[in-house]
């Protein structure tokens, strides 16, 4: 099964991209909102603590911690990485598991 991991978007698409706002302008515009979001997360963690903490078997907090670590990475795809952390894994062999071979596979089996 062909994997769709490498970007196929050509150079002609990249030249059509709008120019993003300068980083300083983004920070000036969004600093207070970011501050508020960090504060909300901090308050949520405090509530969990006051509530006695979450059992280790609840994996959701582990995912949240993994997501928070990504925020501090030096990378340009943090949003995509956070999305993947909170996603169920994809198995590209799923059709075999479902007994639903794609038409091409069925044809090659017949041949």
């Amino acid at each position: 099964m062909e994997r769709r991991l490498a970007s196929k978007l050509g150079d002609e698409v990249r030249t059509m991209l709008p120019t993003p706002m300068a980083a300083q302008a983004v920070l000036d515009r969004e600093y207070l909102e970011v501050r508020a979001k960090v504060l909300e997360l901090a308050a949520t963690f405090d509530r969990l603590e006051r509530g006695g903490g979450v059992p280790i078997v609840d994996g959701r907090l582990k995912l949240v911690r993994q997501g928070l670590k990504v925020l501090l990475d030096e990378t340009s795809d943090r949003a995509e990485q956070v999305q993947l952390i909170f996603s169920r894994p994809y198995d590209d062999d799923w059709q075999k598991g479902f007994g639903m071979a794609p038409p091409a596979a069925e044809k090659s089996e017949e041949e």
Partner: protein, 276 residues
């Protein structure tokens, strides 16, 4: 700025919303068939629903000068019931010649089960046989990446499909690239918590450009904002982007995609009149 909302469930909204959308520049909308909030019991309840979509909503929208279009299917949540799904799929052709039907949708996956995949494929086959466009729902939250990749696998396995006539909706940061790379249209849904914000939608335009990208509100009976597309317009203006780019995403792209459906007529707006 005139805009067209490619995905909004007006059956769940009051007429006040039609009035508000008209005042905010909406000139038309496309409404896919979806889950009612409960599992319907029979094919006749779907037949009544399709009548509501193709007749009543069209007339309700017209009271405010809005053009209402629709898509037909049994949605992914109810697709777990294979027998009912097949009865509904067999009934859909009764409505395909109604004047506001654009195609088959919103089909897709919900929890990514085998039954959902089977019924998805049967809808795709129906669309191909009747030469219809397709509008696809991708799952929410933790199911989205897995479900989207499964959907792309099934679509790419069908060589009969014209990928330019397929809109894969509710894309987010981890799915948009895969959808666009395979040549499909991608819809970004501006919906609180479980989907995307206007800011993140604008980010995706920055990263991938406006080609084959649409934005929509998916306003329905849950917490949602039918005026989400105007929110996106404002965000794009705040970033200093030209009106031509914004208009491309919120008006020209939907018109281009929907014009492939034989029942679609582009709205007659002042902008169009001036341009000609």
């Amino acid at each position: 700025m005139y805009y067209f909302d490619p995905h909004i469930h007006m059956v769940s909204r009051t007429t006040d919303d039609y009035e508000m959308l008209a005042k905010m520049g909406c000139v038309g909308m496309s409404e896919p068939a979806f889950w009612a909030g409960f599992d319907r019991g029979s094919v006749d309840s779907f037949r009544d629903y399709f009548r509501q979509l193709t007749d009543f909503e069209r007339r309700r929208a017209a009271q405010y000068g809005l053009k209402h279009y629709t898509w037909l299917c049994i949605n992914a949540k109810e697709a777990e019931n294979v027998n009912l799904s097949r009865d509904v799929i067999a009934m859909i052709p009764e409505f395909l010649d109604q004047p506001t039907v654009l195609g088959i949708g919103e089909i897709g996956l919900n929890k990514n089960t085998r039954n959902e995949a089977i019924i998805f494929l049967e809808h795709v086959d129906l669309a191909v046989r009747y030469e219809q466009s397709i509008l696809i729902h991708t799952p929410h939250l933790e199911d989205k990446f897995q479900g989207t990749m499964m959907i792309l696998d099934m679509l790419c396995d069908d060589s009969r499909l014209d990928r330019n006539r397929v809109l894969v909706d509710h894309v987010e940061e981890h799915t948009v690239r895969h959808v666009l790379e395979e040549g499909f249209w991608a819809g970004v849904t501006l919906y609180p918590v479980s989907k995307c914000t206007p800011q993140r939608a604008a980010d995706m335009i920055e990263m991938y450009g406006p080609e084959r990208l649409l934005v929509n509100s998916a306003g329905d009976w849950g917490p949602s904002k039918p005026t989400a597309v105007p929110d996106f317009i404002i965000e794009m203006r705040r970033r200093g982007y030209p009106e031509s780019l914004i208009r491309r995403v919120v008006y020209e792209n939907p018109i281009e995609f929907f014009s492939q459906s034989r029942n679609f007529q582009a709205p007659d707006t002042v902008e169009e009149t001036i341009r000609t």
